[in-house]
């Protein structure tokens, strides 16, 4: 039997996404269950990502499964020059499912083709990170009660941020309208705008967050990283233009929520944290339920 893996959000049909989100809601009600009793999950983190790894490990542990793996390739046989092919062919003998984070793009697709057990892509370089997208969708659904016809305001690094690209592609299934707020150097790439054009979805681009903030159902913040700028003076000019402060939220919609894939640096001022519209830490908790749902779906246990 061919195993089912999750490499890219596009691998899932809209029905399958809905099913996973529904299952995540069930796990939220009852996060501790015995479903994975006797199962072993590998977390192979060829590059460190503490947050994602802990979220997966928490998800497995709460369901009674065991986790083996490594947090950094320097502590694995990769440092001895082993190929990914050999690592996967070896590890799939020990476990029921592999969660993999790897800096090389396409590595997850490749691993899923070699592996005899399902592979979950926990990030392959700048390419895909589908479990982040699913937990974003779950957070949006949970706070808005629907995914249909929402206004999503994406802020910050829209050029390199893979989370915003995946979210855009996923949300475009539900008639979303978008506002893109980014400095000139980090604007949303044309291919994504073309994608929305082809679907007839509306979007608006601006460099001024205040202009569009009151239309938003969801504000999706991302980090504007200094190293993305060719000209450091340009960075200094724009760095404060994409920082969210509590006073900016005064006239935003009552049900609006602020999401952020974390870690944040300075793009959300800590004075926002106390606002009921701040949702990024709950979003991280939703990640555990969503990953429980994904693991059980791929293992055919739910």
């Amino acid at each position: 039997m061919k195993t089912r893996s999750l490499v890219s959000i596009d691998d899932l049909s809209t029905e399958e996404i809905k099913k996973i989100l529904k299952l995540a809601a069930e796990f939220e009600k009852k996060p501790v269950q015995d479903i994975l009793n006797g199962k072993v999950v590998a977390t192979l983190f060829f590059e460190p990502s503490t947050r994602t790894r802990l979220s997966f490990e928490s998800a497995v542990n709460k369901l009674g499964g065991k986790v083996i793996g490594f947090a950094d390739s320097s502590t694995s046989s990769v440092s001895k020059g082993e190929t990914l092919n050999d690592t996967i062919r070896t590890v799939n003998n020990y476990v029921d499912l592999i969660v993999m984070r790897h800096p090389i793009e396409g590595s997850a697709r490749y691993a899923s083709e070699i592996s005899t057990v399902p592979v979950i892509n926990a990030g392959d370089g700048a390419n895909q990170h589908p479990t982040q997208t699913l937990l974003d969708l779950y957070s949006i659904l949970k706070t808005q009660g629907t995914l249909d016809h929402l206004n999503i305001c994406m802020v910050g690094d829209l050029k390199y941020g893979r989370t915003v690209h995946s979210l855009l592609m996923a949300m475009s299934r539900w008639n979303t309208s978008f506002n893109f707020v980014a400095p000139e150097e980090l604007k949303m790439p044309d291919e994504y705008k073309l994608y929305l054009d082809n679907l007839g979805l509306k979007y608006h681009e601006t460099a001024d967050l205040q202009e569009v903030i009151n239309q938003a159902d969801i504000i999706y913040m991302t980090r504007v990283q200094k190293e993305r700028f060719s000209d450091p003076i340009e960075y200094e000019k724009v760095k404060n233009a994409y920082v969210l402060h509590d006073h900016m939220l005064a006239d935003t919609r009552p049900g609006m929520k602020i999401l952020h894939p974390l870690p944040r640096v300075n793009e959300i001022n800590p004075d926002v944290d106390a606002n009921t519209k701040a949702y990024y830490f709950e979003q991280a908790l939703n990640g555990v339920y969503t990953r429980q749902a994904i693991i059980c779906t791929l293992l055919g246990l739910k």
Binding site: L84, N85, I104, E105, S107, R109, Y110, D124
Partner: protein, 155 residues
């Protein structure tokens, strides 16, 4: 017997039966040979290159005796010889003319332009989906990045 009497065609000797691939850009002749695996077969093959062409500048031509190609095989050269024309020869006569067209999927021919793609790190057979035929755009099955004509490299 038009083919034989045509002095231009005679630059490369005629074949009794087989396939003539004409209008190959001279610069990609050896890529075509490699893609079709002509360097590995035992058939009699003659080719000419840097021939004058009214339409293509300098072109190349290959004549392969006793060999006939399936569409799927011949379409593999569309990436490097998009205007190539095939003449199927039987008894010194052209019995069929064919053109090549870019296939929907491309396997094991092109290199992914993304230096961070797994196919450039491990022995992985490259696979692309053709997302646009004109201008050419290939989407990598692995890293999902687009390789266009300008950055296209044949393995």
């Amino acid at each position: 017997m038009k083919n034989i009497s045509d002095p231009k065609q005679l630059l490369v000797s005629a074949i009794e039966s087989g396939t003539v691939i004409d209008h190959i850009p001279a610069v990609t002749l050896f890529k075509v040979i490699k893609i079709l695996g002509l360097d590995k077969i035992k058939n009699q093959i003659t080719f000419g290159t840097n021939l004058e062409s009214k339409t293509d500048g300098r072109k190349a031509i290959i004549k392969i005796a006793g060999k006939f190609f399936e569409d799927d095989d011949i379409n593999r050269i569309a990436l490097v010889a998009p205007n190539a024309k095939l003449n199927i020869i039987k008894d010194y006569q052209v019995v069929e003319k064919r053109v090549v067209s870019v296939p929907d999927n491309i396997t094991a021919i092109a290199k992914c332009m993304n230096p961070k793609c797994i196919t450039n790190f491990e022995k992985v057979t490259t696979r692309f989906k053709v997302v646009s035929k004109k201008p050419l755009a290939l989407k990598c099955h692995y890293c999902e990045k687009i390789t266009d004509q300008e950055r296209l490299e044949i393995i």
